[in-house]
């Protein structure tokens, strides 16, 4: 699992690649916790490079999503592969999370301020 943090205006972008499972999810959790502790208002997670995700990955996103909600922050998941999208669907979480097909749409959705 590789995690890269960049920013686009006032949006913090986490770009993930590799497999997100019980072993690798603590790294993602750490990065997301750093962002939510700072009350980052706009978090965009680019999942385009993630070809596998299990319930540990889901749990990590649910936790960050709830934390962001508490301070009125937003967390958007973008560019999900079919496999990863399928996992959100089995969990019936595809309707709870804000999910956009592409990163560009997520940026538009969050309204980047530069």
């Amino acid at each position: 699992m590789k995690i890269q943090l960049t920013s686009q205006g006032d949006i913090q972008v986490l770009e993930l690649s590799g497999e997100l499972d019980y072993h690798s999810s603590p790294d993602l959790r750490e990065k997301l916790t750093e962002l939510t502790m700072k009350q980052t208002p706009k978090i965009l997670v680019n999942l385009g490079g993630v070809d596998y995700m299990d319930s540990s990955g889901i749990a990590t996103f649910v936790e960050a999503f709830q934390k962001a909600k508490r301070y009125q922050g937003r967390l958007i998941l973008a560019a999900l592969t079919a496999t990863v999208r399928g996992v959100f669907e089995i969990a019936k979480l595809d309707s709870i999370f804000e999910i956009t097909p592409t990163v560009a749409e997520a940026v538009k959705c969050l309204g980047a301020k530069t």
Binding site: Y22, D54, S55, I90, A91
Partner: protein, 134 residues
């Protein structure tokens, strides 16, 4: 096709195991979408063994795979804390709290999840999936 894996109950074994299992599923003729789901179900069961059955105690877990033309059967064995996952009630979805989805994934993906209660010292979980729903 029969294949048996002996794994150390630690999270770093998951990714290499999945790599090999992916090839087995592919060779056994499972289409990618279903193969990824079976992979997920088995990964969830192994994660539970690592996390809940052994909880940081050193231990082993074995995965025995039999793939025939029409179905695949995966038997998971461990010597951790005795636990029958088939008794866990299905969670209400969507869950707004983190966790508690692993067994639901296994149940949803596989056609059968059977816990064998015969051996007092071992957990033995059988997961079966048919190529065409019966």
């Amino acid at each position: 096709m029969e294949k048996r894996f002996e794994l150390i109950a630690s999270s770093e074994v998951l990714a290499p195991f999945r790599r090999e299992f992916r090839q087995i599923l592919n060779r056994a003729g499972w289409e990618k979408k279903t193969a990824e789901k079976i992979l997920l179900a088995v990964d969830e069961a192994l994660t539970n063994i690592i996390r809940h059955a052994y909880q940081g105690r050193p231990g082993k877990m074995t995965v025995s795979i039999s793939a025939s033309d029409d179905k695949i059967e995966i038997v998971l064995e461990d010597q951790g804390k005795k636990f029958d996952p088939t008794q866990v009630p299905s969670p209400e979805l969507p869950r707004h709290r983190p966790g508690g989805l692993g067994i639901h994934f296994i149940r949803t993906i596989m056609d059968q999840m059977i816990y064998d209660d015969q051996n007092p010292a071992w957990n033995r979980l059988r997961l079966i999936k048919h190529k065409t729903k019966i």
